[in-house]
Amino acid sequence: MSENINWLELSEVERLKYDSNYLRGTLPESLADPITGAISQGDTQISKFHGIYQQWDRDVDKERKRQKLEPAFSFLIRLRMPGGKFTPRQWLAMDELSDKYANRTLKLTTRQTFQLHGVLKRNLKATIKEMNDHLMDTIAACGDVNRNVMSHANPAQSPFHAEVIETAKNISEHLLPKTGAYHEIWLDKKLVADSKEEVEPLYGNRYLPRKFKIGIVIPPHNDCDVFSQDLGFIAIIENGEIVGYNVAVGGGLGTTFGKPETYPRTGTVIGFCTPDQIIDVAEKVVAVQRDNGNRKDRKQARLKYTIDRMGVEEFVSELTKYLGYELEPERDYVLERNGDDFGWIKGSDKKWHLTYFVEGGRVLDRGEYKLKTALREISNVIDGDIILTGNQNLIISGVSTKVKNQVDALLKTYGVSPEDISGLRKNSIACVALPTCPLAFAEAERYLPDLVSKIETILNEHELGKEEIVIRMTGCPNGCGRPYLAEIGLIGKSPGYYNLYLGGSFNGARLNTLYKQTINEEEILNELRPIIADFAANREAGEHFGDFVIRKNYVEEIKEGRDFKH
């Protein structure tokens, strides 16, 4: 890479990455500074590569300013756990860490991993060390690198689960940054030679232009929204084995209000690769993006924009050059849904697997509802694993019949038996938003449960309580909760106000379309009421809500991401 870089025309983050000495920045100094709970401005970018985001409690922002106190800074720590599979011991470790250093809750993310919230600067190192003691790390959980690799979650649904999760792990390992910064800073490993020699053969000293996401699905399940990934793999099963994967590129959801040149995009399937090619394909797609992605404007830097700028054909031909071979033509597949199938299922392994709905992905104890305690007790007795799904839910996986009964009893004891949850709630996702996410314009996790209750009332009037409808809410348009792929999408604009999007497909293959802009709760309910009534009266057999609103022209189908309006 040429060292004659014109920094002026590049985004500032490019310079920060370059100057960070392979992701060290001034983190040790920032951590040692006793007079602020924050880290330096530059380090807030670098820390992301270590899975750490600086946040602050926005609920008390104004009052602390008057109190002559700095904002209540704390940190989000996100784990890297490809495929989201945790041993009970690891679950217990996270449970304990959340009490010891975080806000006593665990957040299950939309990328099959844990987030701890509210970790103070002085506890960051101890937290990461203790995670490391339990074979967990946070390397590259955020930042301009390949992030946590997702995979199909449910062993009960497919005998190939073990194989894809292994593949997810291998891809993740292969694409990890190679710098020793993480081990030096957090685990007190010895400083390795401080030089700009090629320590990052894949990423180079400026890493990727922007974040990069990979997910693997096993049809007909699309539980990790394969078309939202920069790089998606769709397992193709023929004659009882995985013969390879269709390759989808250029998915990505984040947008920015007021910037029409930003848009969500579903991935484009460009061909098929064999299992022994998959890591190479992943590496080369990353490399093409590394060399062609936009480093001037971070809002045009994701792979989706690179591909639309180059054109799919041009992109594929470039990829072929990097690979040295052509991908085979894509094979047939059918995806049915992007949500989870809840309840106990006996897998082909003869063991029991419980897919369990966790509202907002938040594991906590609140009054009679003691989910956190229940899962702690369950972790103490199960003979299987706990797997996080891409929809903020979890699977208590691989248990014997005896343990299954124990699990049921414990869920009951702690007031968290999976009761009759509506089809809408089961398919709900909310990002964290206020009060800790600095990007949020409006509530999401704290508010969506209430809104769902109110929509349920309307659905019940039409006997649609059981109807499965995907609803997702985020506090900003960055897309963590994948709202653009929901049948009902709500994106925060300002406190109490949301854009309402309709018409995503139930299987996650189609983007939704803006229906109403900047409306409040009353307006949201008033807009949905007649459509739901119409749906109840006039739907075709088996027709999903998202398909119905398009057929009835409530909204026009979005075929290309760039046609999307905010």
Binding site: P34, I35, T36, V60, E63, K68, L69, L120
Partner: protein, 606 residues
Amino acid sequence: MSLKTNPLNDAQLSALSQLVEGLNKEQTVWLNGYFEGRLAALGGVEVPAVASTSASTAAAPPAQSAIKLTILYGTETGHSQGLAEKLGEKASFKGIDAQVLSLYDYNYKKLNEEDNVAIIVSTHGEGDPPDMAEDFYKYVTGPRAPQLDGVNYSVLALGDKTYKHFCKTGEEIDEALKSRGAYRVTQAVKCDVDYEQPAETWMNLFLLNLAPAEIPEPVVSSETSVATPSSAGGFGEEFSKSNPYMATVLEKVRITGNDSDKEVYHVELSLEGSGLEYEPGDSLGIFTKNPEALVEDILAFTGFDPEQKVDVGEEEYSIKEALSHHLEITMLTFDLLTKYQEKTKNAELAKLLADDEALDAYLYGHDVLDLLEDYPYEWNARKLVEVLRPIPPRLYSISSSMESVGEEVHVTVSVVRYERKNRKRNGACSSHLADSIEIDEQVPVYIDKNPSFKLPANGSKIIMVGAGTGVAPYRAFMQHRESLGIKGESWLFFGDRRFSSDFLYQTEWQKLLKKEILTKIDVAFSRDQEDKVYVQHKLKEQQKEVFDWLENGAHLYLCGDMKYMAKDVNKALLDIIQTQGGISEEQAEKYVKNLKREKRFQTDVY
């Protein structure tokens, strides 16, 4: 006045014109008298023959042999020093050749050569003399004290009746001098925290006995403390402790975070038009009222008719009003317990008074209602009022500099609240400010000068050690240096409970660091980790550099809790000096004493 015809240098001249400007008639008359006195005291110095009409002021009678007076003070808080200086002025005005010295600077071996000595000294903690008086005290009360025949003296003892050993140092010095044959010109006077009036009386009496009125009294009293309280606020009115200024609250904000178990308020008050002035290091006296609940509880317990009239000093109030506004009921003092016992003849209480440890425990955290409950007696309202002491104003270290905030004064108030015997207890002043006083309301205040907690005049290095609200004066120090552009290195050691909620004035320190007004800061938060970490631990961590600073002339300040923090910091300091200086414990003690003598170690602890 032409420059050619005056003997003053430029600085004096400019100071003079600054002084003269804006003086009213009364003040000018008083100054006229003052200078006559000064002149007399100078022993009839010849006035240079200059063509000046003001030469007529030299007509004061030449003093044949001026009376000599040595005024000695021993102080921790500066009150004794203030009084000594005042006595010096009064004496000079009377033509007495007065010299004011701290007990540090005084060569006590010459005590037997003195004609007249006035000693103003305070008592601290367990009846201890102030540091600066320690050597003198040991000398005169010890076996090596000389015969003092022919020495005239009197003692003014300062103290606080909250403590058992009220005014002990003064008492003992008084006794010692007497026993060595010195002549007690006037009885020693012991003052409680409201010392102004008795001190004034003592001074006047003492001077009268030394020099019977040779020089006419000035037309107008110089003493602000004898001014009658007035709400008129006319031009030239002087506000003081006995005539407090009604200051309007401009801002009141709790500055501990909502997850703190401490309630600390930053309060800004207007001094606009009051003429009150203060310097960093001074304190603000605030008059307060007692918590209503406690007053009600006492009335209910005793069954007093709330409207019954009682006398407090010269004034008559209803018992309810007296308990609310005029008498101390939230705290117990040794003095009160003694009087209470004398009246009640309670045997249990007598036992308590005889047991130092139990007594200390009882004095801490109990109030008048506890006393009434624990040692029952058939009180009537008038009798009870006689044993209670007047409620003194509360002092708060000022946390602002006038150079920065103009005619405002800021204080940092930690609210005292605790629960005992199922009853919630509230500090009289702090809870009053926290619960009852809102922005735009007024509170009576005065300035309490503290000459022994002052920034060095130049930009010498300063090390500031403070825990909790002990950080208040350092905010004033920093504002002062910033506003005046005084360059000088500074280092703050701050301690409190929790970083996230108790880092008082955090954003201000951050800005001061950025602007390099504050050079360094070390913080200790005791409850953020398993081991309790306090400021003294931080001092020790940094001991090499702390010692370097001291060796390079740094001034060291200590402000905050006396019982624990000050003790621990003093100990840490001795350790540091011993270790870093490679000297014995005794030498380290001398080193510290010397710092104090040079006014390079100043404390404001409470």
